[in-house]
């Protein structure tokens, strides 16, 4: 029996420690890991908890991230609660197996500490790895600070392991900005945290010897389409209600309220930025300052990136006059992903809103308040003109001549 850890009501944790404490509290059976900056401390801390008797599970060191996720898949298929963490290049190496995990309907929780993808090699935070995962069939939850990295892990296990869902989930946090920045984190007791997620309930597990199963089968044109359709059906219909239920139950337990789409100063907003990660917190502050200068500014934070909450996004944004979609990933040949998603969400609503795209913060470049003031000023001009007054896609915080497209 694992030892209990006595936690203070508020602990000073960075995002990595917050995530590893959440993994400890839900008593993960198997963590298979190949550490990579900036997510390394998550599995390092977890290995320490295991070695010191705070966890009953197994910590498996593998030869690569591909091996780490493969090991997680095997352990999940065998019937255990499974989690790991990665970033950037490691995430990229995991991609093949991410599709296996979701297609095999295995509820693995992956903490992704968002980091740029080389070349040029870079260890700092942007959302390139998060964006790379968006077609992989995983649930993707995004946190903006260490507290949320802690809380969303519990949500991830609860939703992912639900027998109506059985899909793996990623919990994202920004590399260094969240993962290595210590803040006060309100804790749950070990007992309360474990009871919120509950005992793991296996399904079709390989260790059920009375019901032998084969996992990871091959299907061709006669079956593959149906399996993918079934997977999409679960991701599209089962997950959102389960996340909402988990958010509601978590609010009762902790007093902290989460939403599919987070809105700040949006009730009467004429202009809004939509962003993810730590940028949301900076944008919130700037929006309040813009309001002091007479610009009705608001901020929309994406909490659930996959499944994309299309209807909820449309409802929040359709009456705004001008929207800026902020993408922290090089879109490589098109508009940013958030611009595309928001366009798709609004296109058939009859809205007259004006939508533009900003690329910012690549490789850990700061998004300053001054940058956000300039974005809100752009958006105000678009709102007043009722049309796009700037290029459709602009680079923010880039040295050299202004760079924009379309």
């Amino acid at each position: 029996m694992a030892d209990t850890m006595e936690l203070r009501d508020i602990e000073v944790w960075d995002g990595n420690m917050a995530a590893s404490q959440a993994l400890r509290q839900v008593q993960v059976d198997v963590v298979a890991a190949y550490p990579i900056t900036p997510s390394t401390p998550i599995v390092e801390n977890y290995a320490g908890f295991t070695a010191n008797g705070y966890v009953d599970g197994e910590f498996v060191m593998t030869e690569s991230e591909h091996g780490a996720m493969s090991c997680c898949i095997g352990a999940a298929a065998a019937g255990g609660r499974v989690a790991t963490a990665t970033s950037s290049q490691g995430f990229a190496l995991m991609v093949e197996t991410l599709y296996s995990a979701s297609g095999m309907r295995l509820p693995i929780v992956l903490n992704v500490v968002n980091r740029a993808i080389g070349a040029p090699l870079n260890v700092n935070g942007d959302h390139s790895d998060m964006y790379m995962g968006r077609d992989s069939g995983w649930i993707q939850l995004d946190s903006y600070c260490p507290q949320e990295a802690y809380d969303l892990n519990f949500i991830a296990f609860k939703v992912s392991e639900d027998h109506d869902v059985r899909l793996p989930a990623m919990v994202h946090q920004d590399g260094f900005m969240t993962s290595h920045t210590a803040q006060g984190v309100h804790t749950l007791s070990d007992e309360a945290a474990f009871n919120f997620v509950g005992e793991y309930k296996p399904m079709n597990d390989m260790l059920d010897l009375d019901h032998p199963v084969t996992h990871g089968v091959q299907t061709e044109e006669d079956w593959h389409f149906e399996h993918k359709a079934r997977q999409q059906h679960a991701l599209m219909t089962a997950v959102i209600p389960k996340i909402e239920a988990a958010f509601a139950e978590f609010e009762k337990l902790s007093g902290r309220k989460y939403n599919l789409v987070e809105t700040y100063s949006m009730d009467d907003a004429e202009v809004a930025v939509v962003c993810m990660g730590t940028s949301v917190e900076t944008a919130r502050e700037v929006a309040l300052e813009m309001r002091q200068n007479g610009i009705k500014a608001g901020v929309v934070g994406i909490r659930v990136f996959r499944p994309w909450p299309l209807e909820q996004i449309a409802a929040v944004l359709k009456d705004v006059k001008a929207i800026g979609a902020l993408d922290r990933s090089s879109p490589h040949g098109t508009v940013g992903a958030l611009f595309n998603e928001i366009s798709g969400s609004l296109f058939n609503t009859g809205t007259k809103t004006v939508l533009t795209n900003y690329i910012y913060g690549l490789g850990g470049r700061d998004l300053t308040k001054a940058h956000l003031v300039s974005i809100f000023t752009d958006l105000k001009a678009n709102a007043d003109a009722g049309k796009v007054t700037t290029p459709l896609q602009q680079y923010i915080g880039l040295r050299g001549p202004k760079l924009s497209f379309f």
Binding site: G103, M104, R105, L106, R166, N204, D210, H211, P212, V213, T214, H215, G216, V217, T219, D222, W223, F225, E226, H227, A229, R230, Q231, H233, A234
Partner: protein, 138 residues
């Protein structure tokens, strides 16, 4: 197998070996196991084979080497006696012939069309040791 719609089967591209629960499956003979339609036991892969092993019980010493080494569990053995070959699952790899220690071998490869009786009639005789292979004194 019936082609069900996308909502008509279990999730996860997962296949069950047996219909319903099983107990003591290791001590149940294959022909008595409740294999499901999705288990490969119920499918024939005989057409993968271009050569087949044939068994001559006159020379077999029931050492079970073929049973141990067959990668497809296609050697049928009961009470540690070699019975024959499961031609629905044998892929003609020839490993059973390679490991057979008798002289002549009790298992030999033949073309898929070879008549069994004819093969048994033509079975090679015991090979005598070739004098030339004996070590020579210098």
């Amino acid at each position: 197998m019936e082609k069900k719609g996308w909502d008509g089967f279990e999730i996860g591209a997962m296949l069950r070996s047996f219909d319903g629960a099983t107990q003591d499956i290791a001590t149940t003979l294959p022909e008595n196991r409740p294999y499901s339609v999705s288990n490969s036991f119920t499918a024939s892969v005989a057409d993968w084979r271009i050569e087949k092993p044939l068994f001559n019980k006159d020379y077999c010493i029931d050492c079970q080497f073929c049973w141990v080494y067959c990668p497809d569990m296609s050697i049928i053995s009961r009470d540690k006696k070699m019975v024959g070959i499961d031609f629905d699952h044998c892929k003609g790899c020839g490993i059973c012939v390679q490991v057979c220690p008798t002289n002549p071998k009790s298992l030999l490869m033949f073309s898929e069309q070879k008549d069994e009786e004819e093969a048994l009639e033509q079975w090679p005789k015991k090979e005598k040791k070739d004098q030339s292979e004996e070590p020579k004194e210098d």
